[in-house]
């Protein structure tokens, strides 16, 4: 039996396209008739898709049916075992237009019979007989139609297949009428054709399966099996079912892969050896629709190389994918296809010339990329670029590999071996677009460089476009190396820097270090000393490097910064020193602020720097009160430190939470985290935490905390920075500056979270501290303490405090017992720090003076002048009088007494002794006045108010010995001085000495001029009643009585025109009549009486009404404008009845 797979393909061309292939359909019978209808039929078939309902539960497919018609020939029918499906006619038609029954019986039936016989001989069941009729109007009018030819045909041949015998009205003759029948024909044609394929493929698949089952047999050959199953793919592709065709190829791919994998574990089928031949050509894959027949025949001959076979398979898969409109799938499969092939070459131990595989991979990548670039639809492009980036990347790498092999790198010298390699590699590649490109690239250094840079640019751009920055950076690194070899360091540096940035952002120290090492090398060659020094600092601080290398770079850096004369370099502090924590401490006693910095110095050896400073900026406004404030003056001194807080290690503020139901019973208990939003805040969303600092500007260091000449040891350093703060306000810490020397400053970013402190200026204050409770007393030596609080001020060494007292107050330093009380004193004081209290004990004495008013206190001010304080500090103080005194003139008719009253206001006893009253002025020329003391000679004691005497009275009788006539006007006033010794006996001054008290008074009008006598009597009822009877009666309430006012002259005086006025308490007395006030004259006599009607309003002992006597000044008759009433002074008028009462009985009812 001739094996079908060995049959040569008749087509001699190198390739064929499946798109040109159509299902073959034979025609028999009336050939001319069919020829006339062929074009119409072909058009109608492909006009709309048909549903391909397949047996055995396979999904139905919508298929556009096309057909190629060939005349029926006996030998074109498939023979047993011939599986070249594409060349086989699958459907057979018979055409006739016989309408005559006789003719049918005569020849046509026989003709059909023999046709069907041939078909059935070949087991073909897919046929169709078409009777083409001409529309006959008459025929349709007949009532009983005769048996037609169609009926006969159906009867004879279509017993089981009535749908295979169809009549159709010739569309060419009567287009109008044929529509329905023609459509039926086309639909049936399609269905029958597809069912023919269904049957065919089912049988074929059976065959393929059985072939596959035999794969372990020794004479089984994969190549032959491949071609067999590919026929299936061809048919499916021809029918337009590309996805199923792809499945066939994928199955073949998987099967082959499995064989190769099995080879690795020792299963070696004999056919596989053919694939292991040495590689002599490395044509890239060619992505065309058409089938490469050269390769296919090589498969048939089992003479194909592994790479060629893989290329063929991949190109078929790609063709199916492209036909399905999925170019990105082609790209996505390409990279794994290449990798897989390389892997298989390895497994099968195929010997390949150096560079051959690289060439092949490059060509494949470029071919796929070229194909993808043909698509311009943005959706497709973006779908593709996800995979093309990797392809560009791969192509770039392979080209570099080839360039190195062929000596085309910028720093390579081309050798003959390189030339040989170029020739050898070029010989192995076919003539195609990518191949020409490769040949050109390998032809010269310039062409190679151009091509390489172009590819790398594309790869990088595409990676960036799809957001794969890290991949782009990898290409950047390759490019940097390439540029370094080209001596184009500037470009290399830019690529390395961006890579470094990415690695630092992602915090990959080892990768960052690699970049830094390369960058350092570049900068050194470029003579960019500043950047070189910065790189050295970073490298020296890298934890991923051994100590010797780090020290080497550190030494390089230090030698640079001490030898260069550039302007100062400013590097970010974070390059080599990390701030672990910062803390602000306020030192109140020194008026200073300290910042305690904990720095992690990563440099390999000790680093001597000039200074470390933290800038301090003053805030214009207060920061919000979040406990960040550090007060300089107030005692609350929460030193807040800032260190990185690990969110994972923070204790959550969890609280109990009780939920009560409506009736008040406990519903549920839970724990709740307050402020959970703050704690659950995503930290990674902040992003860029590891951002590399390019440069840090130097802030304002005019105010700063500073530490001079510190030593930074490797590892943790605890440094205390100090500063005096000279003004008040709220401050916050800014950035840290490590000044290494004049050439280098390391600057940090602003310390975060911000640290604040507040400085408050408080001026010194002085307080008066009493030694005991109670108030200070006038006239007593009071020991007090002046307490000076320095606050924000300092008292320097050898300073003096000056104390000045206001008038009436004297002061004496306690330790200075010799000197007397003074108005002001100057005291030496010891030096004092801020916020210290200085106590100065002094004794104060407020002098007892004559009291001008009734106030019980004497107010004084003490002024303290501190040396460093420009303003004197005033302390207002009040002293209480321990007692008050008063003096009065008392009269008893004509006798006069001087009464001195002393009232105590203390809680302790005061002793008085030796009271004396003296007249100090000289009045002896007119008067002789004497004072007679009526006081006891013993000492008198005033005790406190509760248990003892409160008041002491001293009395002197004033006697006037008048030598001159009494008619003289007024007696001259007396100046008297009262003197007494007092001794305060409080707790402090128990043994105090007696102190003299001298008081001056003036005594005037001390002679009685008039006496007034009052008498209240019941009023006589009748005029004739005798006075005896009247006298025995009593005054009764509500009865008018008689008030008799008698005024008598007591001593001679010029004044005789007087005015009287009866003043009665209106509660007791009603004064009646016009004579309640009036004028009286004592010119004629020395006595004058007037009677006034008064009525007592109530009963009982009533005080008598008061009569006020006044004198007239001036002359009424002379119309003197000064004429007026003037009261007498106390002592001039003696009222006899003062404080006397009259008994008033209840009224008679």
């Amino acid at each position: 039996m001739n094996h079908p797979l060995n049959m040569p393909i008749s087509n001699e061309t190198q390739e064929f396209s499946l798109l040109d292939k159509k299902p073959l359909v034979t025609y028999a019978g009336d050939v001319d008739l069919f020829k006339s209808l062929e074009a119409t039929l072909a058009n109608s078939l492909s006009s709309e898709p048909a549903e391909w309902c397949r047996s055995y539960n396979r999904g139905s497919k919508s298929v556009k049916v096309t057909a190629e018609f060939t005349p029926f020939q006996n030998d074109c029918l498939p023979k047993e075992g011939d599986w070249r499906l594409l060349q086989q006619p699958v459907f057979h038609t018979f055409w006739t237009q016989c309408s005559d029954m006789e003719m049918y019986k005569a020849s046509l039936r026989e003709e059909i019979e023999s046709w069907l016989k041939v078909l059935s001989h070949h087991n073909v069941l897919d046929w169709m007989i078409v009777l083409v009729e001409t529309y006959d109007f008459r025929k349709h009018n007949k009532l009983l139609p005769r048996t037609t030819v169609l009926d006969k045909i159906k009867n004879d041949f279509g017993a089981k297949h009535a749908d295979r015998c169809l009549s159709v009205i010739n569309p060419l003759r009567s287009e109008m009428r044929s529509g329905g029948s023609w459509r039926r024909l086309v639909v049936n044609f399609r269905l029958l054709l597809l069912s023919a394929y269904d049957r065919l493929l089912w049988n074929f698949e059976e065959k393929v399966r059985s072939q596959r089952e035999r794969r372990t047999e020794p004479d089984w050959n994969f190549c032959k099996y491949f071609l067999l199953q590919e026929e299936l793919a061809f048919v499916l592709a021809m029918l337009g079912v590309y996805d199923e065709a792809l499945v066939q190829y994928d199955e073949l791919d998987a099967l082959f892969t499995q064989f190769v994998l099995n080879y690795a574990v020792g299963e070696v089928p004999s056919w596989l050896n053919k694939f292991q031949g040495p590689l002599d050509r490395w044509h890239g894959v060619s992505l065309t629709q058409s089938v490469d027949l050269n390769l296919r025949s090589a498969i048939r001959n089992c003479s194909i190389s592994l790479l060629d076979f893989r290329c063929y398979l991949y190109s078929r898969q790609a063709a199916m994918l492209l036909l399905s409109g999925k170019p990105w799938e082609v790209a996505s499969r390409c990279i794994s296809f290449c990798n897989n092939c390389i892997n298989e070459l390895d497994i099968l131990e195929v010997s390949c010339p150096p560079g051959a595989v690289a060439c092949w991979v490059w060509l494949c990548c470029i071919e796929v990329l070229n194909t993808c670039q043909k698509y311009t639809d943005s959706k497709v492009v973006s779908a593709c670029s996800l995979y093309t980036a990797r392809l560009w990347d791969c192509a770039t790498k392979k080209l570099l590999e080839l360039g190195e092999l062929c000596g085309l790198l910028p720093d390579q010298e081309k050798s003959s071996a390189n030339l040989h390699a170029v020739v050898m590699l070029s010989a192995g590649i076919a003539d195609s677009d990518p191949s020409e490109k490769l040949k050109h690239a390998l032809s010269s250094k310039d062409a190679f460089t151009k091509e390489y840079l172009e590819l790398a640019e594309l790869a990088m751009g595409t990676y960036k476009h799809i957001g794969r920055i890290r991949s782009a950076r990898m290409i950047g690194l390759d490019l940097a190396s390439f540029y370094i070899s080209m001596k184009d360091l500037t470009k290399a540096v830019s690529f390395l820097s961006s890579a470094l940035r990415t690695y630092e952002e992602d915090n990959w120290p080892l990768l960052a270090l690699q970049c830094q090492l390369k960058l350092a090398k570049c900068y050194k060659e470029m003579d960019d000393l500043e950047k070189f020094a910065r790189m050295c600092a970073s490298i020296a601080s890298s934890p991923c490097l051994d100590l010797t290398t780090r020290t080497h770079y550190f030494d390089q850096m230090t030698s640079l910064i001490y030898n260069t004369t550039d302007a100062p370099w400013r590097f970010p502090l974070s390059d080599c020193i990390q701030i672990i924590s910062a803390e602000v401490v306020t030192l109140e006693e020194n008026l200073a602020v300290e910042a305690i910095l904990e720095l992690d110095c990563r440099l390999p050896s000790q680093f001597i720097v000039k200074s470390i400073a933290v800038s301090v900026e003053q805030l214009k406004t207060q920061p919000d009160n979040r406990g960040k404030r550090n007060s300089l003056i107030p005692q609350e001194n929460h030193a807040r430190s800032c260190c990185e807080e690990n969110a994972f290690l923070m204790k959550l503020p969890i609280q109990e939470s009780f939920e009560y139901q409506q009736d008040g019973s406990l519903g549920s208990v839970s724990v709740v985290c307050k402020n959970q939003k703050h704690h659950l805040k995503r930290q990674d969303s902040q992003g860029g935490r590891n951002k590399r600092l390019v440069s840090v500007p130097k802030g304002d260091f005019s105010q700063s905390l500073i530490l001079k000449d510190p030593e930074l040891k490797p590892g943790r350093n605890r440094l205390v920075l100090k500063s005096k703060i000279n003004c008040s306000g709220t401050f916050r810490l800014g950035q840290v500056c490590v000044e290494v020397n004049n050439r280098l400053e390391l600057l940090s970013t602003t310390i975060s979270p911000r640290l604040y402190f507040t400085a408050i200026w408080k001026s010194p204050s002085v307080n008066l501290e009493k030694s005991s409770e109670g108030s200070l007393l006038v006239g007593v030596e009071e020991r007090v303490k002046l307490v000076v609080s320095t606050n924000s001020q300092i008292l320097p060494e050898n300073s003096h405090v000056q104390v000045i007292c206001s008038g009436g107050l004297l002061i004496k330093a306690d330790d200075d017992s010799k000197s007397d009380f003074q108005k002001e004193i100057t005291l030496p004081v010891k030096s004092c720090k801020p916020h210290e209290n200085l106590t100065i004990p002094v004794t104060l004495l407020s002098q007892m003076v004559q009291q001008k008013d009734a106030s019980l206190t004497a107010d004084h001010t003490i002024c303290v002048i501190l040396p460093s304080c420009d303003k004197p500090i005033e302390i207002p103080t009040s002293f209480h009088y321990p007692f008050i005194h008063s003096i009065s003139l008392q009269s008893a008719a004509l006798r006069k007494f001087i009464n001195v009253l002393i009232t105590s206001y203390t809680t302790f006893p005061i002793k008085f002794s030796n009271p004396q009253l003296k007249i100090t002025n000289d009045i002896s020329s007119t008067y002789q006045v004497s004072l007679t003391s009526l006081n006891p000679s013993s000492e008198q004691t005033l005790c406190n108010r509760t248990n003892g005497r409160k008041i002491i009275t001293f009395v002197w009788e004033l006697k006037v010995v008048a030598s001159e006539p009494l008619s003289e006007a007024l007696a001259p006033s007396l100046q008297t001085q009262f003197s007494i010794d007092y001794c305060v006996q409080n707790e402090e001054n128990a043994e105090s000495t007696k102190k003299p008290l001298n008081l001056n008074f003036e005594v005037s009008n001390y002679r009685t001029l008039f006496e007034v006598e009052l008498k209240v009597e019941p009023k006589p009822l009748k005029a004739n009643e005798s006075s005896e009877s009247r006298a025995s009666e009593f005054c009764r309430a509500k009865t008018v009585c008689q008030l008799t006012v008698s005024v008598m002259r007591a001593a001679s005086c010029t004044c005789s025109s007087l005015h009287y006025e009866v003043l009665a308490d209106q509660a007791f007395w009603a004064v009646c009549g016009e004579r309640r006030a009036g004028y009286l004259s004592l010119e004629s006599s020395d006595k004058f009486s007037v009677t006034v009607d008064v009525m007592p309003l109530t009963s009982g002992f009533l005080p008598l009404p008061i009569v006020r006597l006044s004198k007239y000044v001036g002359d009424n008759a002379a119309r003197d404008p000064r004429w007026r009433v003037e009261p007498f002074s106390r002592g001039e008028v003696y009222y006899r009845n003062k404080a006397s009462q009259v008994h008033v009985l209840v009224p008679i009812s």
Binding site: R390, R468, N507, D684
Partner: protein
């Protein structure tokens, strides 16, 4: 089985990298770093459909090169596990890769449970080392 295993923190910084051949570590660091691109891409694609309760933590093959295949896995806390296997190791099934990740996740969970371990720090644990080595050697 694997040639390199890496644990990457949620901020994409390496927390642990171990290779069978320590001299290759730098090479693998580059590879693992590049693979983070694909991890991020996949995570973004995953995050789009909302509320997928049973989120697949296994990310599958991230990318392959001639020599290596790189697989990824991400925990709910965005800790990434990267496993690099040799491309020539054709017998390795997807299931076995998943198994490796599951073991890795479990031993990582143990590490995090240690009260002395500060989350976010580089992992240095003998136990972790030992387990990772045993995963790499396929024990």
């Amino acid at each position: 089985m694997a040639v390199c295993i890496a644990v990457i923190g949620k901020e994409n910084s390496p927390k642990y990298i171990s290779c069978i051949n320590p001299s290759m570590e730098l090479h693998f660091q580059y590879k693992v770093h590049v693979s983070l691109d694909v991890v991020e891409e996949k995570l973004q694609a995953v995050s789009k459909p909302i509320a997928d309760v049973t989120k697949e933590q296994y990310l599958g093959l991230l990318y392959s090169t001639e020599e290596h295949k790189i697989y990824g896995y991400v925990t709910n806390t965005k800790i990434k596990f990267i496993v690099v296997v040799d491309s020539s190791n054709t017998l390795l099934r997807d299931n076995e890769i998943r198994m490796m990740f599951r073991r890795l996740h479990s031993v990582y969970a143990d590490i995090v449970c240690n009260p002395f371990f500060i989350p976010g720090e580089v992992i240095s644990s003998k136990k972790f080392d030992k387990t990772v080595k045993s995963i790499m050697y396929g024990d």
